[in-house]
């Protein structure tokens, strides 16, 4: 087995174990449910135990399969080709773009948050002419904002609205 294949096996083993752990979480959560006193209703536990048990059995079986070297085939990519090596930098950029978008949205408003999102995602996927990209990002965000708020009457945060304290979010 080449070193690359071993690495893939390790990753898949971690992921399959994660699915297994997920089944334990579901089963554990189900045992923690308090039975309702409602008579006649079937307990919410029954179905949840079924789901947790199913995932438990299947992922345990799958872990054995991975250990025997039966690995999954990565999915193909539409409009391009899949590489065998992961591009962590691009992936990190897209994840940060999403995180930034969510964090900025309530404070700086939709237009700025979306400009950042569009810019970073396109940049991560290979568009390097940043000035042109920046202009397109800003223009598109403005069009989307006014399209959705004016034409579809959706309520998107405009931002910089200091008359209203903490616009949308309660703490969680």
């Amino acid at each position: 087995m080449s070193s690359l294949a071993t690495k893939g096996a390790k990753g898949e083993l971690v992921f399959t174990s994660f699915l297994f752990a997920l089944s334990i979480v579901i089963l554990w959560d189900t045992t923690q449910l308090t039975e309702s006193a409602l008579t006649g209703s079937v307990s919410p536990k029954a179905f949840a135990f079924g789901v947790g048990g199913l995932l438990f059995a299947l992922s345990a079986f799958q872990i054995a399969q991975v250990l025997r070297g039966k690995l999954g085939e990565p999915e193909g990519i539409e409009g391009g080709e899949a590489t065998s090596k992961a591009n962590w930098k691009a992936l990190g950029l897209v994840v940060s773009a999403i995180v930034l978008h969510i964090v900025l949205l309530p404070f700086l408003g939709f237009m700025i948050a979306s400009t950042v999102l569009f810019f970073l995602v396109a940049f991560a996927l290979g568009e390097k002419r940043w000035l042109k990209l920046l202009i397109i990002s800003a223009a598109l965000s403005a069009i989307v904002y006014f399209g959705f708020t004016e034409a579809l009457q959706l309520d998107l945060p405009f931002g910089f609205d200091f008359t209203q304290t903490t616009p949308v979010e309660e703490e969680w």
């Binding site: 997920l22 579901i26 209703s41 079937v42 691009a90 773009a97 939709f110 995602v121 959705f148």
Partner: protein
């Protein structure tokens, strides 16, 4: 059949507004089919916000038109670019692209479009005849029967999709797990919410679909994608067929319809399987076997007819039983629910005009697609020149708007990110996505029927297998799960002895 409602529906579909939304849907659908990275399920999820402002009839007509339209659009990219714009067009790419390279792009595009039209027309006709009948049958089903139906769907969708049945079934169970999240409406118990107030209502279907298809895909492309415009096959002149092309196409169209429609009605989870079956069948039956792999027109005609018939077929269980069998049908179900309309056996008696308007619009949309599609092929080709980074960035912005607009809450956006990462991992390790979505949507519905059945029987689990219908379904499921590996094994043995 209720002829008055049928006629009223047809008249309704001809109003200017409804025609307009049908046309808009066909164009949007084709666009979505042409562009890589966005399929019908994602497109309709992103357009769900219009349900706040647009009439139910118009919105549903548009969504159904998008579903049909993507099947048309996908063939264009497969033939001209060799990159299928959606998964149902994978088979078309095999022969269609070879035909285009040999300078027969026009014939390939024409047989795809006309085949789609023929299949769409026949399949919509069968839908109109069969759906009321099945709805009637649905009225007589007990909760235990419905539960069996859904278990069958879980089993077949899970085991049919993806590279191995276990992977598909795991994907399905993860979906069922996501479906558990939230407050149980019957007992008030909170499952898997971990005391987060925002999780009480569960994870909305739109969030699940948007994050798996848009975020998951973009993350995966960032991690693994090597983007670059593939060469577009030149296409000059008109999309038309010779007499010989017609002679070779009409049988595959009909056979494709015959495979695609039932595969849509049954819970087989989308258009991959029927298009594959149709392709294999045409290859087997063709007199020009040597042409396969070098541009055989039968290999385009069959699968293209199959995927359109499949889309129509999937609407049968959706409208008549309220059961979605593909990711797109599941989103259309959500659209119905946004309007407080529940598809299912009662739909045909409670909303006859709406149903018939929708079905009539499907006929019209199918016709519009044929008229709109062929002359506009050059426009679609232009669209393919949008650079991929802009495409994915745009999809991402729309996805986040769609996710946020649901409840104006950033909690939904965080859940979208988490599920998006799950989508990335599923793609990386070869797990199919569709079973997860169907599990998350059908799971809560299955639980309702499960409880109803047990309530009636006062907790006796034997009630689940007490009707002939449910016994037949469970046997069918057992056969579907155990049959193929058993068959492979015996065949392997026989080959060994030879």
């Amino acid at each position: 059949m209720d002829y008055n409602a049928f006629l009223e529906g047809f008249a309704n579909s001809l109003t200017l507004t409804n025609l307009g939304f049908g046309l808009l849907g066909t164009i949007l659908g084709t666009l979505v089919g042409v562009l890589p990275g966005i399929g019908p399920a994602l497109a309709i999820s992103l357009l769900l916000p219009i349900t706040f402002t647009v009439e139910p009839q118009s919105a549903l007509i548009m969504f159904a038109a998008i579903y049909y339209g993507t099947m048309y659009g996908g063939s264009t990219t497969s033939i001209l670019l060799n990159t299928p714009g959606e998964s149902g067009s994978m088979m078309t790419a095999l022969e269609g692209n070879k035909m285009a390279r040999a300078g027969r792009a026009g014939a390939a595009l024409a047989t795809a479009a006309i085949g789609s039209f023929v299949a769409g027309a026949i399949a919509t006709g069968i839908l109109a005849l069969a759906a009321p009948f099945i709805a009637d049958l649905g009225l007589r089903l007990t909760p235990a029967d419905f539960f069996a139906l859904m278990v069958l769907a879980f089993g077949t969708v899970g085991s049919v999709m993806g590279s191995s049945p276990v992977r598909g079934l795991i994907s399905m169970s993860v979906g069922l797990g996501i479906g558990l999240i939230g407050m149980d409406p019957q007992s008030g118990a909170q499952r898997l919410t971990f005391d987060a107030v925002q999780a009480m209502d569960g994870i909305p279907t739109v969030i699940i679909i948007v994050s798996l298809f848009a975020l998951g895909e973009a993350l995966y492309v960032a991690m693994r994608g090597q983007m670059g415009l593939s060469k577009i096959n030149s296409f000059a002149g008109r999309a038309s067929m010779t007499r010989e092309d017609w002679r070779r196409s009409w049988k595959p169209w009909l056979r494709g319809t015959a495979i695609g429609f039932p595969a849509g009605v049954l819970p087989a989870g989308g258009s991959e399987l029927p298009t594959f079956l149709s392709y294999t069948l045409e290859k087997k039956l063709s007199k020009n076997k040597s042409e396969f792999g070098h541009g055989a027109i039968e290999g385009v005609a069959g699968p293209e007819a199959a995927n359109n018939a499949n889309a129509a077929g999937a609407l049968v269980p959706l409208l008549a039983l309220g059961l979605p069998t593909s990711a797109t049908a599941a989103v259309i179900l959500v659209a119905f629910q946004q309007f407080k309309i529940q598809p299912g056996p009662l739909l045909f008696t409670e909303q006859p005009v709406l149903v018939w308007t929708l079905i009539a619009s499907l006929f019209l949309g199918n016709l519009l697609l044929l008229v709109v599609n062929l002359p506009l092929i050059k426009v679609w080709v232009k669209l393919l020149q949008i650079p991929v980074p802009y495409l994915y960035a745009g999809i991402m912005v729309f996805a986040m708007v769609g996710a946020y607009a649901l409840k104006n809450s950033t909690f939904d956006l965080w859940s979208a990110l988490v599920i998006g990462v799950l989508g990335l991992l599923f793609r990386r390790y070869g797990y199919p996505i569709t079973p997860l979505i169907l599990g998350a949507i059908l799971g809560p519905m299955a639980e309702v029927e499960f409880r109803r059945a047990l309530q009636i029987s006062q907790g006796d689990y034997l009630t689940l297998v007490s009707t002939p219908f449910s016994i037949v379904l469970y046997s069918a499921l057992a056969l579907a799960l155990i049959g193929p590996p058993l068959w492979r094994k015996t065949r392997g043995l026989r080959q060994n002895t030879n």
